[in-house]
């Protein structure tokens, strides 16, 4: 290291061999910087800019208060409906699912601001080129910015965690559910950060990259589901479907069913379905199973489908969703039902089980999303009535969220790659309207 020479002084004796101090970057030294050290330099720089700004704390405070207010309001509403005996079911899954989706939605609104300006904003501020001129590589600069933004997004998610835990006091939610939902949300916000980073590298103007980042998030979470809705009309097809109708006397069937229920739903006491006959009918119906993947990368769908369910829910998601009122289960059910072809058999016979006074029954007939009827006991468990109608059962046994998450991860990785390419020096072609420094 050169000692500070007073200006104008004659050259020190060491002048002939400069740069010989400890830690000095000797000109010929191998020019690399430990990958993670370089990454962390950029991350620290980015975080310092945010952490020392009052705006972050104001935003965090608003965030905490808004989520808290919604949580408490919701819990109060559930308490009131419970005290009025609307349902005896546990409100835990409903409360947890609602707040989880709410927090995810707010995260998707907040997260783009962490990276949508991180490259073009720095370029405008004149702080990008001097970083690029150092030993830092493009991967370290892009990665450091991504990591900093991700840590900020995690900070917001963690600030919401207390309220999510509050919802679990309503019961019915395992710590595993909380942990898995959080981990998946961590990944989702990382993907959004990467998308913003890519746009901020691609578009010179900060306003442009902000709009494109929000548009990308909107595409995944709202536009594609709407597109699926319209596109489903294009999948309409004439199908020959067997409609099963009950030709006998419904009161006889109901009496048999009540005996069956009284026996504790013993298999030997099942009602007699000999009067239940199929009849071919041509109906026009959509085949969304060919385009359902449009909603696979939807962040809400991914989180909902990834949320672990209690073991008893896996065998029949339809039952569980109806019983628990869990919006996560509903969303997962919806996605899975869209991904499966509709059943070619429609059970209308089971409705005949409801021909008497409901008060004397301890079972109930419900309708599936593809128009069949099914029977559940008082707790909501699906019963095997011995009906001859083949039924489509939607289970939660094979997850579908890895596809959506995988696609989203590829998208995020692609945008990160774009950012790295755009940060690599020496520049070949410059993005339109940008300067190096």
């Amino acid at each position: 290291m050169t000692t500070p020479t007073t200006p104008g002084a004659t050259a020190a004796p060491s002048a002939a061999r400069p740069a010989t101090g400890p830690g000095t970057a000797a000109p010929g030294a191998s020019a690399s910087l430990g990958f993670f050290r370089g990454l962390w330099i950029v991350t620290r720089l980015e975080l310092a800019q945010r952490i020392r700004s009052r705006k972050l704390y104001v935003a965090l405070a608003i965030w905490f208060v808004v989520i808290g207010a919604v949580t408490l309001l919701m819990l109060a509403a559930f308490e009131r409906s419970r005290s009025q005996g609307v349902s005896s079911a546990s409100f835990g899954p409903a409360a947890f699912g609602t707040i989880t989706l709410f927090v995810l939605g707010l995260s998707l609104l907040v997260t783009p601001t962490f990276t949508a300006l991180s490259i073009n904003g720095d370029r405008d501020a004149g702080t990008l080129a001097i970083l690029q001129a150092t030993r830092l590589t493009a991967v370290q600069i892009a990665g450091g910015k991504l990591l900093a933004a991700w840590l900020l997004a995690l900070g917001f998610l963690v600030a919401a965690l207390p309220w999510i835990i509050v919802t679990t006091v309503m019961g019915g939610i395992s710590p595993l559910q909380v942990v898995v939902c959080f981990l998946v949300m961590f990944v989702e916000v990382a993907i959004v950060c990467a998308i913003g980073l890519g746009w901020s590298a691609l578009i010179g103007r900060p306003a442009g990259s902000t709009v494109m980042t929000y548009a990308s998030v909107a595409l995944l979470s709202a536009i594609l589901p709407i597109a699926l809705g319209f596109a489903s009309m294009l999948t309409m097809r004439d199908d020959t479907v067997r409609i099963w109708n009950y030709a006998g006397d419904p009161t006889v069937l109901t009496t048999q069913a009540n005996d069956w229920a009284a026996s504790g739903f013993a298999p030997s006491k099942r009602p007699d379905w000999s009067a239940c006959h199929p009849e071919n009918q041509v109906i026009t119906r959509p085949h969304v199973e060919s385009i359902w993947w449009l909603i696979a990368p939807n962040p809400f769908v991914i989180v909902a489908d990834a949320a672990p369910l209690p073991p008893e829910a896996r065998g029949n998601l339809e039952t569980w969703a109806g019983r628990s009122g869990d919006p996560l289960a509903f969303l997962s059910l919806l996605t899975r039902s869209l991904s499966l072809p509709p059943s070619n058999d429609q059970d209308q016979c089971s409705w005949a089980l409801m021909s008497d006074n409901p008060a004397s029954r301890n079972y109930e007939v419900r309708s599936t999303s593809d128009g069949s009827a099914f029977v559940v006991d008082a707790k909501g468990n699906v019963l095997d009535t011995g009906s001859p109608v083949p039924r489509r059962i939607i289970t939660a046994n094979t997850p579908i969220w890895p596809w959506g998450l995988g696609f989203s991860l590829l998208l995020g990785a692609g945008m990160f790659y774009v950012a790295v390419r755009r940060l690599s020096v020496p520049y070949g072609v410059l993005p339109k309207g940008t300067r190096v420094a």
């Binding site: 290291m1 050169t2 000692t3 500070p4 020479t5 200006p7 104008g8 002084a9 004659t10 050259a11 020190a12 002048a15 002939a16 061999r17 400069p18 740069a19 101090g21 400890p22 830690g23 000095t24 970057a25 000109p27 010929g28 030294a29 191998s30 020019a31 690399s32 910087l33 050290r37 370089g38 330099i41 620290r44 720089l45 310092a48 800019q49 020392r52 700004s53 720095d122 501020a125 004149g126 702080t127 080129a129 001097i130 970083l131 690029q132 001129a133 150092t134 030993r135 830092l136 590589t137 020096v425 020496p426 520049y427 070949g428 410059l430 190096v436 420094a437």
Partner: protein
């Protein structure tokens, strides 16, 4: 002062600093040919001035040499490293101070300097010592713990210089370093550049304020319309330029000049201006004047060498 053209290209281990060598460097932005054939070398241990009018490609050339822009054609080596094939090594050996740059508002001056020290691979301890000595040297110690946003333009400029020097680079690329500096700081900058050159560094300074380069430069590279221009006119010994003369008895001086057949003109200050072909002629004139008994007390070039050369360049352009 050694001229160090690297004779052996390739990623060999370089001892010392081998300066800058550019050959046929071209770089265009769309239709604009910002740098259109630059060939020069800046030796180590010397200050090389990069001179040219606005838009002549100085800043673009410095961006190329700093390893940020890929030349469309030609090659350049800084500190012995090819700026394209050995970009990282070239960047590491260069300290670049752009003409305009920003600061991180939330960071103190010291933090900014430490960040860059580590970004250049210095250990935290070495970075701290280096930062302290640079703050001392550039009179920024009292601002070290203040956020960079409160600095004045000149102080920011000095911080930028400290940033460019933080890794003790062997090649310095300074783009208009004196802009915004007060006279005292300019003099100190000049001395600093001299010291750095004396330590064996390669210093390339661009400026269009020629007077501030006049006393510090060893070599000059002239750019015009993106090209290096042969600056033969700057050979001080033979270049024709105006000289300002004054004597105790102005009449005697004019009589002498008339007798010697040297055409002269009167300057606005009442002094005499003559055109002489370089320092040799000036020396002969002084000798003759003294021999003729003229009480000559002042003889000086009207304009600096750089200014003369620059103006000659300007004429060439027309």
């Amino acid at each position: 002062m050694s001229i160090a053209h690297p004779t052996s290209p390739g990623p060999s281990v370089v001892v010392g600093c081998t300066g800058i060598v550019a050959e046929g460097v071209k770089r265009a932005f769309g239709d604009v040919r910002a740098v259109d054939g630059v060939t020069f070398s800046a030796p180590s241990g010397a200050v090389t001035a990069l001179i040219g009018p606005n838009g002549s490609g100085k800043t673009t050339l410095l961006l190329v040499l700093a390893g940020l822009l890929r030349p469309d054609a030609g090659t350049a080596r800084v500190g012995g490293f090819d700026i394209v094939t050995e970009n990282l090594a070239a960047r590491a050996s260069v300290g670049w101070m752009p003409d305009s740059f920003g600061t991180w508002d939330a960071l103190t001056c010291r933090e900014i300097l430490l960040t860059f020290a580590s970004a250049y691979g210095l250990s935290p301890e070495a970075g701290r010592r280096r930062a302290a000595s640079l703050f001392e040297q550039l009179h920024l110690t009292e601002f070290a713990e203040r956020p960079a946003r409160v600095l004045s333009r000149g102080q920011k400029q000095r911080l930028g210089l400290a940033r460019a020097l933080v890794h003790d680079p062997c090649v310095l690329l300074l783009d208009e370093p004196a802009s915004g500096l007060d006279p005292r700081s300019r003099i100190e900058l000049r001395d600093l550049l001299r010291d750095l050159a004396q330590e064996g560094k390669t210093v390339l300074v661009s400026s269009h304020v020629l007077s501030e380069l006049e006393e510090v430069y060893d070599h000059a590279v002239f750019l015009s319309k993106g090209r290096t221009v042969e600056a033969t006119a700057v050979d001080a010994r033979t270049a024709e330029r105006g000289w300002r003369l004054d004597a105790l008895d102005p009449v005697a001086l004019r009589t002498f000049l008339a007798n010697a057949g040297i055409p002269w003109a009167r300057s606005s200050g009442g002094e005499v201006i003559v055109q002489l072909a370089g320092t040799d002629s000036a020396m002969q004139l002084v000798r003759a004047a003294v021999a003729a008994g003229v009480a000559l007390h002042t003889i000086a070039p009207v304009a600096g060498r750089l200014e003369e050369a620059y103006l000659a360049l300007d004429e060439e352009r027309k």
